[in-house]
């Protein structure tokens, strides 16, 4: 084996596992995410798309309908709609119906803000629509820390409304963090309580997530806890195949253990830009624009970036690792946004190669876009917790400091 060993065969194979076919890409994506707006009522600390304010260039209703028509022609059978908060687009419910009427099923992600009893009843009456409520803590304290005050109550109310309306099998979508990884059983219990399915996904250092990743990403020992939990409970829990970097612990988790970016997955953003994956909203992963470049099919099938992602990749520093075939180097976006080389280990490599890579020289890339609100709104999370100085707890400090001009006769007095 040499350092230049290339693990991917050079031409599309005619036999063998399906995953080898996926590496060469499909004629249309099987998992397409479409973010309808950058506008959001929340300002989650780890937002992948740095959402907040609407972009004035966002696709119009007619342009969105044209996208749906094209997806129908391409036989993209369902689309994951997100944002921003998609339901605050005034034409959201129209577009939902339009998609379903054109054989494009919809799974949409929401923080629940618009899921009142009437909307819940409408959703219960539709076929072919899935609802995914984001919740990043099984308690308000843990959730609101990253998603902002009141967001837990909003999500729970939405789940209650859906259940009361008879909507079956909503999804509770959780980004696993250092703070909530201890709550996996509680999340499962919440899902069971609301007749919902739990979905766990990986925290990515994308968008505003880059700013908080160091504090929020699960610690190495927590990754093991997560892996063991998924091995024990994985059959009833969805993961969006996002934890394939954990496969290097041993056994592969269910799902596609492969980076699907530009091969089977992609993202359409609110202004029609097409990116390789929902976690890679950056100029380096921009394949084209469906308005400027002749439509989505054209971008998907002919963009230079996607051709490159579908061609053989080198495994770089991971070449000599015996676990390479399990994790295939992990997540491209996680590497990119932590400033690591794309052909090296994932920053959360469970064999420990990520930590040493993170300790080396690296430059975190500047964001290409930011739709965050410039002035903090009332829903902005405040990622502070009350603690005492460690020196105080250690007994090194017995009383508050006394300044030179303290006038109190008891200043500095100790019992």
């Amino acid at each position: 084996m040499t350092l230049l060993d290339v693990r991917t065969p050079v031409a599309r194979p005619t036999t063998g596992p399906l995953v080898n076919q996926f590496e060469f890409g499909l004629d249309a994506p099987i998992c397409l995410t479409w973010e309808l707006t950058y506008a959001c009522n929340l300002a989650c600390a780890h937002c992948l798309s740095s959402s907040g304010k609407r972009d004035p260039r966002e696709l119009t209703t007619e342009q969105c309908e044209a996208v749906i028509d094209e997806l129908q022609r391409m036989q993209v059978f369902y689309v994951n709609i997100g944002g921003g908060e998609p339901t605050i687009r005034p034409d959201f419910w129209h577009l939902l119906q339009y998609a379903v009427d054109h054989n494009v099923g919809v799974k949409f992600s929401t923080n629940g803000v618009r899921l009142n009893p009437e909307r819940a009843a409408f959703l219960a009456s539709t076929d072919y629509v899935d609802v995914q409520i984001s919740l990043d803590g099984a308690t308000a304290e843990v959730n609101d820390y990253v998603r902002g005050p009141g967001s837990y109550d909003t999500a729970i109310t939405a789940l209650q409304n859906l259940q009361a309306a008879g909507f079956k099998d909503a999804k509770i979508s959780v980004v696993v963090t250092r703070q909530n990884v201890t709550q996996l059983d509680e999340f499962k219990a919440l899902a069971d309580q609301y007749g919902a399915t739990l979905r766990l996904t990986r925290l990515r250092p994308s968008g505003r997530g880059a700013d908080v990743w160091d504090e929020l990403h699960p610690l190495p020992e927590q990754q093991r806890v997560l892996y063991d939990w998924l091995m024990a409970n994985g059959d009833n829990v969805l993961t969006g195949d996002s934890f394939f970097h954990l496969a290097a612990f041993g056994e592969s988790l269910p799902g596609l253990n492969l980076c699907g970016a530009g091969r089977v997955v992609c993202l359409i953003d609110p202004i029609g830009d097409v990116y390789a994956c929902p976690f890679a909203i950056h100029d380096n992963f921009l394949a084209g624009n469906l308005l400027a470049d002749g439509g989505f099919k054209q971008v998907w099938q002919t963009s230079e970036l996607f051709q490159e992602l579908r061609s053989p990749q080198t495994s770089g520093a991971c070449t000599s690792c015996q676990f390479f075939d399990s994790c295939r180097g992990g997540c491209m976006a996680a590497k990119f946004f932590t400033g690591l080389p794309l052909d090296g280990p994932d920053p959360e490599c469970v064999q420990g190669y990520g930590e040493s890579a993170l300790a080396g020289d690296r430059t975190i890339p500047a964001a290409s876009q930011d739709h965050s609100r410039t002035t903090p709104g009332r829903n902005q999370p405040v990622m502070l917790s009350l603690t005492r100085r460690p020196e105080f707890d250690a007994g090194a400090i017995e009383a508050p400091p006394v300044s030179a001009c303290a006038e109190n006769p008891l200043a500095g007095f100790r019992l």
Binding site: L26, D27, I30, F77, Y78, N103, Y128
Partner: protein, 94 residues
């Protein structure tokens, strides 16, 4: 010699709720009812599935698609997999 699989003598068809999307390796099958995605990993399997509806029996469909008899057991196994997720349905089951 093994007994012939009883499925070979049955009449099957692609479900009305299923769409086949052509792919470089074969096809992707999507069931609009149960929302299951399945991959038909060979073009020959796609040919067999497409031939089911207009064939008297599964054996007939395999013949039409030009599948050598030696490979029939593998194809029957794949068809049973498709049947398990309701992608293909038995016509007039007894």
């Amino acid at each position: 010699m093994l007994m012939a699989d009883p499925m070979l003598a049955e009449a099957w068809t692609l479900s009305d709720s299923v769409a086949l999307r052509p792919e470089p390796f074969g096809a992707l099958a999507y069931h609009f009812g149960n929302r299951k995605l399945t991959f038909l990993k060979k073009q020959q399997l796609v040919d067999v599935v497409n031939a089911l509806g207009e064939s008297e029996t599964v054996a007939d469909a395999l013949t039409r698609a030009g599948i050598p008899a030696a490979q029939w057991p593998a194809y029957v196994k794949a068809l049973r997999g498709l049947a398990a997720s309701d992608m293909i349905l038995e016509r007039n089951p007894s």
